[in-house]
Subunit: 351 residues, 4 copies
Amino acid sequence: MPATMKALRKTNRGKGLQLENLSVPAIGPTDVLVRVKASSICGTDLHIYGWDRWSQGRIKPPVTLGHEFCGYVEKAGQEVTAVKSGDFVSAEMHVNCGHCQQCRLGQAHICQNLRIIGIDIDGAFAEFVKIPATNIWKLDPAIPEHYGAILDPLGNAVHTVLAGRIAGQTVLVTGCGPIGLMSIAVAKACGSSTVFATETNDHRREMAKPMGADYALNPAAEDPVKRIREATGGTGVDVLLEMSGNPKAIQQGFKALRAGGRASLLGIPTENVPLDLVEDVIFKGATVQGIYGRRMYETWVQMTALLKAGRLNFEPLFGERLELENFETAFGKLQNGLAGKILMYPNGIHK
Amino acid sequence: MPATMKALRKTNRGKGLQLENLSVPAIGPTDVLVRVKASSICGTDLHIYGWDRWSQGRIKPPVTLGHEFCGYVEKAGQEVTAVKSGDFVSAEMHVNCGHCQQCRLGQAHICQNLRIIGIDIDGAFAEFVKIPATNIWKLDPAIPEHYGAILDPLGNAVHTVLAGRIAGQTVLVTGCGPIGLMSIAVAKACGSSTVFATETNDHRREMAKPMGADYALNPAAEDPVKRIREATGGTGVDVLLEMSGNPKAIQQGFKALRAGGRASLLGIPTENVPLDLVEDVIFKGATVQGIYGRRMYETWVQMTALLKAGRLNFEPLFGERLELENFETAFGKLQNGLAGKILMYPNGIHK
Amino acid sequence: MPATMKALRKTNRGKGLQLENLSVPAIGPTDVLVRVKASSICGTDLHIYGWDRWSQGRIKPPVTLGHEFCGYVEKAGQEVTAVKSGDFVSAEMHVNCGHCQQCRLGQAHICQNLRIIGIDIDGAFAEFVKIPATNIWKLDPAIPEHYGAILDPLGNAVHTVLAGRIAGQTVLVTGCGPIGLMSIAVAKACGSSTVFATETNDHRREMAKPMGADYALNPAAEDPVKRIREATGGTGVDVLLEMSGNPKAIQQGFKALRAGGRASLLGIPTENVPLDLVEDVIFKGATVQGIYGRRMYETWVQMTALLKAGRLNFEPLFGERLELENFETAFGKLQNGLAGKILMYPNGIHK
Amino acid sequence: MPATMKALRKTNRGKGLQLENLSVPAIGPTDVLVRVKASSICGTDLHIYGWDRWSQGRIKPPVTLGHEFCGYVEKAGQEVTAVKSGDFVSAEMHVNCGHCQQCRLGQAHICQNLRIIGIDIDGAFAEFVKIPATNIWKLDPAIPEHYGAILDPLGNAVHTVLAGRIAGQTVLVTGCGPIGLMSIAVAKACGSSTVFATETNDHRREMAKPMGADYALNPAAEDPVKRIREATGGTGVDVLLEMSGNPKAIQQGFKALRAGGRASLLGIPTENVPLDLVEDVIFKGATVQGIYGRRMYETWVQMTALLKAGRLNFEPLFGERLELENFETAFGKLQNGLAGKILMYPNGIHK
């Protein structure tokens, strides 16, 4: 094992990222050191690259980015029993405190003291990453490596889709970024009936039907609420999966929801959203769920079961595969609105 | 049985109500005619009296008001088997269609074709009222008559409180009108731990502790969110029961809610409410429920079980008892902000 | 409309059925008269044909059998609004009272006063059948006629499968009669991962894989519990769907269930079943559900949504199609252990 | 801190227990050492004392008994952040593995690799006990010390009662040992309506009404099923809480359960129980839950909330308080059928 490694880091308070050489992390008795195979770039990484307002408030350089990844266990601390060297793994990157009210209630994903690896702690855009053993997720060898690198966003999708009933339900997915597109496939795999998707970006919207949507609607060109009402006999959809964070999409989503329906909100609006609470929530008897992260670790069990059983095909979502050194290419493509997931291989693509 | 009866009606598009004499309703084979013992005045009745914008859009005079009542079966249609003459009854006043999606899913209270007796159809501010047999609720004789007249709002409270877990939960009730006050008592009867109540009106707030609240806070005098956070070790409340419809109270309620908590919204805001969806719903992993009416008829089962078992005491909530002829007195008192429930006796108080 | 019709009836207390001519039923104001297109034979019909002990206690001749069917509305009573002449329909054949505790709680399928059309009241092995309007289920024209005739057993399957979580779950179906086989297909359509099926009858077991099972095990030839434990890494299955009523299969099913799993029991054992409650239920923290009939009418919504979306293919399950006159052929084949569904056409196959 | 301590142990394979002197346990970085204030004797301890068949298969002497206790943190390992010296604590004595399927699904109480402190590992009938930090439960100082010593059985009761709806429900508790009696009080505190209790032991049955039961029935003297049916208008109870493990009580409990009801089984039968699955579970559409231990840590949150809010009064359940040296007196009294909880104080009653 080498003493030093490459890592892609935010080293100062400004735009851009820096590729650095630094020591391989030392691990404690309950930690696991993972040799990173593939890392995927999240929209959050783009925000941090661009140093937007949210990043300025949250990120404390220097820190290594990267919170979507898979790899092989290099070394496990002496008290670790769940994995051993050579195991194929991914990890939940939200580290919870274990003793706040939410942790005690089995809601660790919304722990009061969460720290995120790749945001608050050095992450996986590096040859090696240190992970607490509790957070390691051992992967079945039947799961392809490149799928192992996108379990974090897939977990968002699965968490959202399975936060309520889905079998036999009509569904609206607002927003066709990677998580929205994955949600379409997950909903269909889990028995949803008609799936509607809305997206203004042509490139993304065109991927909705290949992922399983029955309708791919462009809200800039037609009234999606009217179309959905017509297609559901006036009733509206049973389930709204909000993946855009766009206030207008959120409002349309609520208007398209049937009375008694479920609205699961994952997309992050950047401002307050005026809601017609009376007509859209109260008189409708609707259930609105805020969705954050992935349930620890129920969502991981669910998504690996679906993957292992071959129920999900995300091949159309994968974009380029690059060495870590080519990160500028990767970030550039994503900033230009590419829908898919770009993978970076810190230890080389062909190893 | 007489041929005509007194009824308190809205006969023209303007303020006020009129006491009229009209024919006792004829019933069909699946209807029940009820001799009204006591009727209670709802906030909605006040709006209709005052002929506000909502009333102008909804009410089509002439119509007899009154949707909170109890009485004795006078006559049952020939196909009615559930009740017989002399039975003590109340009724669910929302009449559902039986064949829309929500009706078929057991969500009749949010039927797509709801009509409300006392709003859309002649109601119970009269000596007699006609009710479809499906909507009749036979009451245990152990339930006092005056409680029988307030099952509609009590059902709102029970529906809201029992829409999720309540045992061992910390609860915030925002708004101490009659339904808010009943909710406090119901929550306590069902095992909630600390109950916080907020209300700016002194008279109403003073009734919160007698009904079971541990804290009765005045948002005009102190920051309730800060107080609640302190009293819950920084965590916030498990459950928000929103009973005010006031935008500021709604926003404070969400701020006081713990991550993973439940917000059940019954109060009706009169305008769009800007919500901080990110901090208050999404990052919190909160569940928000729109609550309308009462579940048909699960809520009725629950509330009559609680009443029959003597778990609820609402004596402090009952105000004056009047003959129907004195309706101007009753409406006048309520317009001046009285918290309690005023009962009117169309067939006389002492019969 | 003719005055008389053919009907297949039990006319006396003994083996066999009789084809008779009798009056077309008169309908009341809330009834619907349906011209039967296709009727399917249920295992219960076989028991009544054979006049077994259960039949002797329950059936009161004369009565027309038949409780799985579809057809076209011939005439609707004057108070019926949900359907009109010519509509393609099926029906829930359990008629509930509407006012017992279970009816009031939205559990009408286990009403205290249930009567079953085709068992207690004249059924659908006839040219016409009378159905209360509440029980009529209007079918989307997109659903093929022969599927419309098997909604009763499909409803059993959907009710059982969707009585708890199914997406991403490992499942054991014990018993591969028609309902067991349909359950396999429904589970797969709703996202289950590995599905195990057990059945000793070769013919039936061979249909399990075509319906979607990953493993089709013969308990007479190997230990299914051992195989399932091995295939699940020692954990056991998440969900048991018990479709056999066979005591040994029930016991094996419980042994194969993981701690924390769900056992949903639909099959009807003919004797008391000794259960190892400690090891199989209590220490396991298992949830055991008795499943009866179909939820009224949530299950109907779910199954027609799945069918309409083309998520279910039961073609391999359909057997012969016969005129009602050839009922002896149909019952004979079924008594010899045929797995599939035989359809009879009281008004002629080719009309 | 002393180097040695008293401990009550099973040192050889036979009847009885031995009071020994041994080293105070050394703790690791993630452990907590607790100075035991009070320990309570469980029925399981009686079985081990008596060296019954179950004990012979499970217990591997030497081991210190005791799994119901409270105390004060003496020392915390260097990685422990949740508690510090002097904190008043109890503990969950089931130690889970953290990585099996159940642990990953939030069902740690039924972990595949559970070890129990006081059964498999040295327990709390000693001056000091070593507890993993994850299992420590910090207690509010508002909770009286003697209540802190019975949280293990109270947790059984709360887990059972709150495993489904309880507010407004009619309840049957079969078996009035300490957990059954506590269940009565918990059910009432959480809004149950009528509570029936059955128990043949006069002494125990007489405590049912003081704990909140409305009916305390003696199955040796009358038919409890008949009484319950009559008192519920023929419907039966909504909820069965089975606390006896007695086959006949289990069977009666199921007969008394209404269709659609919940049966939660905690009592441990010593043999297979023949169940009438058809009439009692399947046709009833009943839900049967195996209940084991306490949910980790949801049940702990719930019970401490109820205690802290003063909703539970168990004073009548507390029996004698003894020094650890007087253990023979304590075990003797319990073997003679005493219902209450006897507390032992390893560090002295008056300290």
